[in-house]
């Protein structure tokens, strides 16, 4: 894995999606896209406002 101090996510088509571990909105756990390897994922980035 490449460790980087960059805080910007660059999700390029054809490249691995970066590993960014964030808390869930209920605060119960932390997750990253890497936790879903083995499944196909539709990632939706949004906001309720």
């Amino acid at each position: 894995m490449i460790a980087t101090t960059l805080l910007f996510l660059q999700a390029q088509v054809g490249r691995p999606f970066p590993d960014l571990r964030l808390p869930t909105i209920d605060g119960s756990r932390e997750l990253s896209i890497t936790d879903f390897e083995g499944s196909r994922v539709l990632l939706v980035e949004f906001a309720s406002w």
Binding site: M1, I2, A3, T4, T5, L6, L7, F8, L9, Q10, A11, Q12, V13, G14, R15, P16, F17, P18, D19, L20, R21, L22, P23, T24, I25, D26, G27, L31, I33, T34, F36, E37, G38, S39, R40, V41, L42, L43, V44, E45, F46, A47, S48, W49
Partner: protein, 357 residues
């Protein structure tokens, strides 16, 4: 296929309420600091079982063929790891003891890289987090607005950052009512027999306000203490803090002012809700020349309990025209408070002065 969400939101409980309303039962991650670097939302990304990005903004009509039933192979490339710094983790923990030290570290990092819009934005998020906590310090909200303003000046195309300011800003700068859906959501959830998710940080009027083309003009209510006869409180019972949110599009003379009142815990003061609500009057007999507001008299009601200690917030629109530099808006709050349990209960007037842009 698995759905996963990332929300660009200051307050995760609001997203929880939204997810509850829309019955979104998939994992949603909280990214208050915009670590993804997205400049706008929504974004959709299709990722295969090897963790490889296959499609950005998939076409719904072609999704089945191009993703769901397509065959993919692993790629020979290392996965980047985005480390989340300790100060941001501590701020996201929202543990009161961690907020101050984490914010100090973030301030130091932002000072070392003054041209980093991202750090300025994150600094603003941190200040607002502390403002929303029991460890709020005077000036936190204004510091948040100022940091976000610096971020937006560095990158004016960052719409996530712009929206964070507009959320609290004047109606002239609003694209839509940010949280206008909340009442409908609560009603719908209760109709299903469930209890709506509680919000931790209360909604300000600015977050519910609809866009406006003109600043509303105040009617002429009667000034509650025109003769200045109510005894002044110099902070013994109530502390006051203010923040001014400017128009992000640079329109001068338009702002949203936020006032926050807290009982002075050092004196064990608390609000007395039995005698009546808090009333806030803006200006004196007249407003300063060139200053207009959407309301002169604001009322802040307390909870149903007889006594309480919550922070009381109210916000209003200000429009300036031809004001002199250094113009400020004075006003006062009239409130009922008590000192300690079974202590004296008083009716007081707390004056304040707000520096206008």
């Amino acid at each position: 296929m698995q759905l996963v969400g990332i929300t660009q939101e200051q307050h995760p409980e609001r997203c929880r309420l939204f997810a509850q309303w829309k019955e979104m039962e998939w994992p949603i991650l909280w990214d208050p600091f915009n670590l993804t670097g997205s400049q706008a939302v929504p974004n959709f990304t299709a990722i295969d079982e090897f963790g490889v990005v296959r499609i950005q903004r998939p076409d719904p009509a072609a999704f089945q063929d191009e993703f769901l039933t397509a065959e993919f192979s692993p790629v020979e490339a290392e996965r980047p790891v985005i480390e989340v710094s300790g100060d941001l983790r501590d701020l996201m923990s929202r543990e009161p003891d961690k907020l101050g030290p984490a914010l100090a570290k973030l301030e130091a990092r932002a000072l070392e890289a003054p041209q980093s819009g991202a750090l300025q934005f994150q600094l603003g998020v941190g200040y607002r987090m502390r403002f929303d906590s029991e460890r709020a310090e005077p000036g936190d909200f204004q510091a948040a607005l100022d940091a976000w303003g610096r971020a937006l000046e560095i990158d004016p195309n960052q719409y996530i950052w712009r929206r964070r300011i507009q959320q609290f800003g004047p109606r002239l700068d609003k694209p839509y009512p940010f949280y206008g859906w909340i009442a409908e959501a609560r009603e719908a959830i209760r109709a299903r027999g469930a209890e709506p998710q509680e919000l931790v940080a209360g909604l300000t009027g600015s977050e519910l306000a609809s866009p406006g083309r003109e600043a509303a003009r105040a009617e002429d209510p009667v000034q509650p203490d025109a003769k200045g006869r109510i005894r002044r409180d110099e902070g013994e019972f109530a502390l006051v803090d203010s923040a001014v949110a400017l128009d992000t599009q640079g329109r001068e003379g338009v702002a949203r002012v936020h006032l926050a009142f807290r009982p002075n815990h050092l004196n064990k003061a608390h609000w007395n809700n039995e005698a009546g609500p808090m009333r806030v009057w803006l200006g004196e007999a007249e407003l300063p020349p060139g200053v207009s507001v959407d309301r002169r008299l604001l009322v802040i009601s307390g909870p149903a309990e007889a006594v309480s200690s919550e922070r009381r917030e109210v916000d209003f629109e200000v429009q300036l025209s031809g004001t002199r530099p250094g113009t400020s808006l004075t006003g006062y709050a009239l409130f009922y408070a008590c000192e300690d349990v079974d202590g004296i209960c008083v009716y007081r007037r707390r004056d304040f002065e707000i520096a206008l842009p």
